[in-house]
Subunit: 280 residues, 2 copies
């Protein structure tokens, strides 16, 4: 069994930090995705948006924005779009009749045909949401375009999509190659977290160096997440610890003297073993 | 049987106009979609891009750009992105095991799982392509963002996606409601053609009025296309003629004294009946 919840840490204060971000993203999504005509389209879109197990990538986007000195509001559209992209790809990946799935079995409220089309619709809605984040004065167009490129790249042929293809190859090969498994986690979970962190830094007006450090941090964090959620978890502790140290270094070197503890709390404490997570 | 080829007109000269546009779009796509690592991703992406029956929406984008005084090159990225969006949605709609499909049976080179993932990848690739069309000096960011919004809206919950849902409802109701059928064609084919024409006008620096007239023209043209390609074709001739007249009016009123004959040739001549088209 797997755990799709955001990573659980022991410190109450940091727990509440992530919980407050999650609830702000949720509130923003509730505002933009209402059930309206055509209901046949928006009802499944709404349902999938709010029932799909969450990725930590959207929250990381907001935390990265705060770390570089930005306001949460600046990252909200991007965080929402990243959640929607995650929902769309998760929905397609877990469609009924498409082979064995990682994670707990899903209660499919809609048939595969509706899930297929709705996933497509959610994907285009995510991009519309980003494009609409252009300020009326249009002075942030370049930033928005950068973010659109980041988000579409992260789920595309060099990112999540490649991870999904490699995962198929990996499961067919049946040899349990450890390196390939890490590569799959890096592509499937790492890239979208890297994208989240980078977009947050871009929108919070971080420097190019800050954007790249946070991108690296996100890549490590997401890869670790993938290894926690995925198969072959038990013999991975040593490698996960190495990745955790690399991730912390990115923060310590680039953000000396800054308040890194909130964003670092995503991986700071010893992980709660997945067996102790509530299953969704 | 249906005909997915671009509409055939009798005049040799205008035929060659559309053929030259089509070949330029194809050349541009060949440049941007090469088979490169990861091959498992790019091979099906390449295959589907060049074997999916074409929509006339991309060519209309280029023609609209020319009509408002722009260069073909300005519309090439958008035309390619619109083709890719069409390919992605067409691929998903025709996936094996997802119910009866309009049009000729497809030779599926890849299984539904690969088609599903590749469709997603093509969709994100289309957006990356548009975002990359930003000029180095970044003075066209606003235009690019407008086009990204147009394209994602056209395939989204108020456009193509709604048409797909309505088509499912329509086929389930079984009452052959004529008005609903036209609405389905308007959403499924009309919106993407409206988007193509509007984007071409935006990129060719047309005025707001020109953009809206070409959007209307595209909506009529696409709706007619949908009615030609779709079911219940034979009792539709009268209504199609009405739509054709409305479409021509959009051009005649807005573009007085301009060279509208190339773009008008899409619907100018009497249609060649679909039975005379080569089936793909």
């Amino acid at each position: 069994s797997s755990c799709y919840k955001p990573m659980v840490v022991k410190m109450g204060r940091d727990q509440s930090y992530w919980a407050s971000i999650e609830s702000e993203i949720e509130a923003h999504l509730k505002k933009v995705i209402s059930i309206r005509p055509p209901e046949s389209v928006f009802e499944p879109m709404h349902y999938l948006t709010f029932t799909t197990p969450k990725s930590t990538a959207p929250a990381l986007c907001v935390a990265a924005c705060e770390l570089v000195g930005g306001e949460r509001a600046q990252a909200m559209a991007a965080a929402s779009a990243i959640h929607l992209m995650h929902v769309a790809t998760y929905t397609h990946q877990h469609m009924h009749g498409f082979g064995p799935k990682p994670g707990p079995a899903i209660d499919h409220k809609f048939g595969p045909n509706i899930e297929l089309l709705t996933g497509d619709g959610i994907m285009s809605f995510a991009i519309v949401l980003l494009a609409k984040a252009m300020s009326p004065a249009r002075e942030n167009s370049d930033k928005i375009l950068r973010v659109i490129t980041e988000v579409t790249r992260a789920v595309g042929s060099q990112g999540l999509l490649e991870g999904q293809f490699r995962a198929i190859e990996w499961s067919q090969s049946g040899n349990g190659d450890e390196e390939m498994l890490e590569y799959v986690c890096k592509k499937k979970e790492g890239e979208i977290h890297a994208c989240g962190a980078a977009c947050g830094a871009i929108l919070g007006d971080g420097s190019d160096e800050e954007v790249e450090s946070l991108r690296n941090y996100g890549l490590y964090v997401g890869t670790i997440q993938g290894m926690i959620n995925g198969v072959g978890r038990n013999n991975k502790n040593k490698r996960m610890e190495e990745l955790r140290i690399l991730a912390m270094k990115e923060l310590q070197i680039r953000f000396k003297g800054k308040k890194v503890s909130p964003i670092a709390s995503l991986i700071e404490e010893s992980f709660v073993p997945p067996s102790q997570c509530d299953l969704l």
